[in-house]
């Protein structure tokens, strides 16, 4: 826990250029305004430029063209990458089971485990599962029959991957996430809901990350698909037969109903809902809390319930603020018109 670096060491480690004294000792990372002389901090956006003047940080990471700062600075052409290196330098040690299969794990004899992969305590891996190389399967994870995991995946404790799921490489699944639960579909017959079989699977492409307690349901047929590089936050629901594009970001508490599709590069805010069978184009931004009730065209920015062009939505929100006043003013206007009418009548 008590790691420390000199300012110079941090500059080297983060691929930045030192401006000022490199001898200071840094023992932690902190927020600009809370940092003390032993802390490193960073400013990536111009809106925080003023804050750095009042900061007591021992060193600040800034973009390469940043003006003078009251403390030593580490200048970087790739400020976000440098900050990531800084955070890594002070990151707490992370749990990591040893390579090999823990003695308490239950691995079916037909399952194949790739080179250098670590299978933690109490993991259960069912028949015909394939786990690639260098994976970390943490304690209590369940991988159902016939599922396939690529290389370099990290599955955190107690996540559940049911049968018939396919994960690419470098996939991260956070604790208690669930892949491949039955889709939610029934038909009503003979006085009761009858279950529609969901005999398909889930396909998670390379470099996808799925948050804690998030769920991706299996398809009726074929696969529910999460495209390459897409990142999904905690407590998100992706229903059966959805197809999410590549390099999308879906923030926490969002929910996609059945058979929703998105293009690539979408940014979906927190607690967004998309009703079933709607298609969202490529490069779409959906504001937090929006409810998508129809198809959205490529490149649109939408918000509200039902979701519409965000500027129109914001205009309506602003107008709503004025509505109580409008009602009062409308009442007065009616009185004025009545007076005019009376006057016109009296004086025809």
């Amino acid at each position: 826990m008590s790691r420390s670096y000199t300012v110079s060491q941090l500059a080297q480690l983060a691929g930045g250029t030192l401006r000022g004294d490199g001898c200071g000792i840094i023992t932690a990372v902190a927020d600009v305004l809370e940092a003390g002389p032993d802390d490193a901090t960073w400013v990536t956006r111009s809106k925080y430029r003023d804050a750095i003047r009042d900061s007591r940080a021992g060193v600040v990471f800034v973009p390469a063209d940043f003006p003078a700062t009251p403390m030593p600075a580490i200048l970087s052409d790739h400020i976000e990458r440098s900050v990531a290196a800084l955070l890594n330098a002070f990151a707490r040690p992370v749990s990591r089971p040893h390579p090999g299969v823990h003695s308490t794990a239950v691995v079916h004899e037909t399952a194949r485990i790739g080179e250098s992969s670590a299978i933690g305590p109490h993991v259960v891996i069912d028949a015909e599962v394939s786990v690639g190389a260098r994976c970390i399967i943490h304690a209590g994870v369940f991988i159902g029959r016939g599922s396939t995991i690529g290389d370099d995946c990290v599955i955190w404790p107690n996540a559940v991957i049911r049968d018939g799921c396919t994960l690419g490489s470098r996939v991260i699944l956070h604790p208690n996430a669930v892949l491949g639960a039955d889709g939610f579909g029934y038909f009503f017959e003979e006085g009761a809901y009858q279950k529609i079989p969901h005999g398909g699977g889930v396909l998670i492409e390379d470099d996808v990350e799925i948050g804690a307690c998030s769920c991706v349901d299996r398809a009726k047929f074929g696969n529910t698909i999460i495209g390459r590089g897409t990142k999904i936050d905690n407590l998100v629901q992706i229903a059966h037969n959805c197809r999410v594009g590549k390099n999308c970001v879906i923030a926490g508490n969002s929910g996609f109903a059945g058979s929703v599709r998105t293009g690539d590069g979408c940014v979906i805010g927190g607690r967004v809902s998309v009703l079933d069978h709607n298609a969202i184009g490529g490069g779409v931004s959906v504001a937090a809390m929006a409810v998508v009730t129809k198809n959205i065209e490529d490149g649109a920015t939408v918000g509200g319930h039902p979701a519409q062009d965000l500027r129109v939505e914001l205009r309506e929100q602003a107008a709503l603020r004025k509505l109580p006043d409008l009602l009062a003013r409308f009442k007065k206007l009616i009185e004025r018109v009545e007076r005019l009418e009376t006057s016109a009548h009296d004086n025809p």
Copy 2:
């Protein structure tokens, strides 16, 4: 994975009548517009009737009175049941622990396990639990003290059934679902929140299904009840002392606060919220995203926040679309009235 059937075999398997050539080989199920010559597809609703003309599917399942199609058709008097049979025919194999108790399961000596039930790896079953016949309790499930499970239940991995819960027969619990966590209740005394004991339980009646990461909290006294045949989607919260009727459907991300009651046969859309102590009548439909803040009478269809008659709600949503324009027009109207007033004053 590489199963195949002739069209004739599928007709027989699905209880339908073949119209056209029965010799084609079918290897998968696909969407109408994506299906190729080796795929089966289906059309249950008239709105998709046109789509079938452009479909390349090898066979299509349709209702018995469906008009001619460009490919062989399987006609069914019970189209949804026939489609379910089709989906089952191609379903991926599912994980299923062997009957008996896995050697790594920890089952209390006072627990009783019914005939032919399968208790998977790392399952924990506490004292005085009773599990019925032919149940499948998957890996990592916890069943707390004194809980009772009926016959033919399926509990998917890592679900938690705490103490004092009662499940009927044919109940399905999806991965990481939680039954019987303490209700959320406190009173404030001596400068801190004091916990109200939730000493009751949870009663899940026959044929109920509860989604992944959904929670049904235990009651303060008596039981939180989910009625027979009710289906609950993923990430749904049912708070302490709720009583949900029979044959209800509750879509994903919904939440019922404490002591909510519903009649039978309700359809609750996605992300619906019901505030505490409200009663929803029988046969009520609640539109997605609605917030129920008062009692709802039998048979109503409601939506919005606060929820009201859905037609009224939609009228208000439409009116809101016109509000910015109304504000502009109101401003102009005032000017016109002012001109009239000036004119009247000038010309009394």
Copy 3:
């Protein structure tokens, strides 16, 4: 299950004063209107005072100054505390692993387990973990490297505490809750989202309770903090670097985005959303469903989307109810003005 008490015994047990006959036998607790002669019930609030007249309960718990009731009453100066004692008296027995480490638990040799703590089956405790005295760590729980748990904590089954988390004393974590998953943060570079390391931890102070399937993400640096005595319901998301104050209550399905802060003593209703970096003052009440999009000052009561003073919000909601009518009336008013204009023009 079949416990019973005389009315006198219940009065003593609950620290109340008996009024009326103390010999009746009570075998359960029930709702005022559903209680029968064998049931105890209670009335804490004046709004239910009328209900007691029609109740058939065998005994009723009431505040000390409560008027006469048709059945024996137990009067209490601390009615909520007395009701808690009543509920405890009839609470179902709860699962509780034996003190010591279960033979199937996997505890790292460098971990320290305090006196009288019970470590249940299939628990995994990683290196350098410290668990205090008298803790109950239920089946399937994972505690990651270097985490610290105080005294008298209860961690329910399959909850996950990742590495680098610190829990105070008397913390309760409900089933499948997740502490310390990576925060949701990326930067876009070279055509893909790059993960921002979240090397910080989570700090849960004394007497905090966190609901089933709720998530508190780890910080980028420092800690995500939940203040002493704060209670969090099920399915709640608290993102990286949030700092929640002391003695707050956060109801189910709520979500706090990154770096949100609250003061002490806040009451956050169900399904509330707080957008990132916003600060909520001390003693703030946020109505259910509200969306907090800016800082909120101490003591405010807010609601709506975006959240504003609750009275203003309710006025707008009421105004919205009148909007369709306003549109119709506006149309008529324009016609009247047009008639006046025509008349003024004809008759200048």
